[in-house]
Symmetry: C2
Subunit: 196 residues, 2 copies
């Protein structure tokens, strides 16, 4: 059993999910504290890793290499976020993306077997975790709509508003590809905004 200071982060994660103290006592021991150093990979393309992580501290990036060899950031994660490749976790499908620590990170890891047991036996955990999945879907949907409907500048302003800590802590080239543009264009957009 972890000491109470270490549990503090997980307590926060599961707070306000309707999860009871008794359920918490079953859930928390299933999560294991792990650390990653800057540039470590949480997942590499082609692997099947049946685990996922909550980030307590640090920044993480997922990316793919497209058909022309370009490195494209698919998602950016910060403290409090869940890092999970759903197809890998649930379909045993090889990951299509690389997930890499941008900074040293403290994470809480759970493997598929533990997850599955909690999911099937703890009602509120099931609800909460399904909610995480729906939330991921929703975020991706909003991002995808933004890619179609908004100008690059508006996409950047939206990210700046929604996730200022990401913009402040991640290099512009990664933010650029996440927004579907080049670092050159992002640089010009930032200049334009600064001159307004």
């Amino acid at each position: 059993m972890k000491d109470s200071i270490e549990q503090h982060f997980l307590n926060k994660v599961f707070a306000s999910s309707g999860i009871t103290q008794e359920e918490l006592m079953r859930i928390i021991p299933r999560y294991k504290k792990v650390t990653f150093e800057k540039n470590d990979y949480l997942l590499k393309e082609g692997e099947v890793e049946k685990k996922y992580w909550f980030i307590e501290s640090g920044f993480v990036r997922s990316y793919i290499i497209d058909t022309e060899g370009n490195d494209i950031t698919f998602n950016l994660y910060a403290s409090g976020d869940v890092v999970i490749d759903y197809p890998s976790m649930f379909f045993f499908a090889p990951t299509r993306e690389n997930i890499q620590a941008l900074t040293d990170c403290i994470c809480w890891e759970i493997n598929f077997e533990s997850f599955q047991e909690l999911f099937n036996t703890v009602l509120n955990y099931r609800e909460q975790q399904r909610g995480l999945l729906v939330g991921s879907y929703f975020a991706l949907k909003e991002h995808s709509i933004s890619l179609i409907a908004d100008q690059a500048k508006d996409r950047y302003l939206r990210l700046l508003k929604m996730k200022p800590h990401i913009v402040q802590n991640v290099s512009l080239k990664h933010i650029a590809t996440f927004l579907g543009i080049t670092d050159t264009s992002l640089s010009r957009i930032r200049k334009e905004i600064a001159n307004e």
Copy 2:
């Protein structure tokens, strides 16, 4: 209880999910056959409709109106697909999109209460439905990557390969906005492909 001909579609849907005959007998009565006429709305923006549908026949489109008033197709559905707005179903959040029948449709509907009961009591149903959600996430992810990484022409070719029945049955203006381009550009792309 529906007659066996009507059940044929649902039997197919749940086949190969590890669902037993006994479980099927609990699941199938929860789905209700409903029909939509061309142009009927399954869901309208701002509503909270706690149900979802399997499409047995027909075509369905979801779309949003962006900040400049443009109608943008967000998804296209055909026979065998699930039509669901996850945030509405699970978060009780007002739908951000309109979902409309493009043709007359036969669908199988289940409401949230029935879904929730089956999800919490039928293990294989739970697995299968979670799989649907993960599958939706995966499809959206691939589409989103394609929006960033591929040229419009490649996105069109990809859709043509993956969902030829959609391309054949849905008007080009809807396909165009789904691909993130205008109908004008799609028309030019099609001409270019035809001349190859």
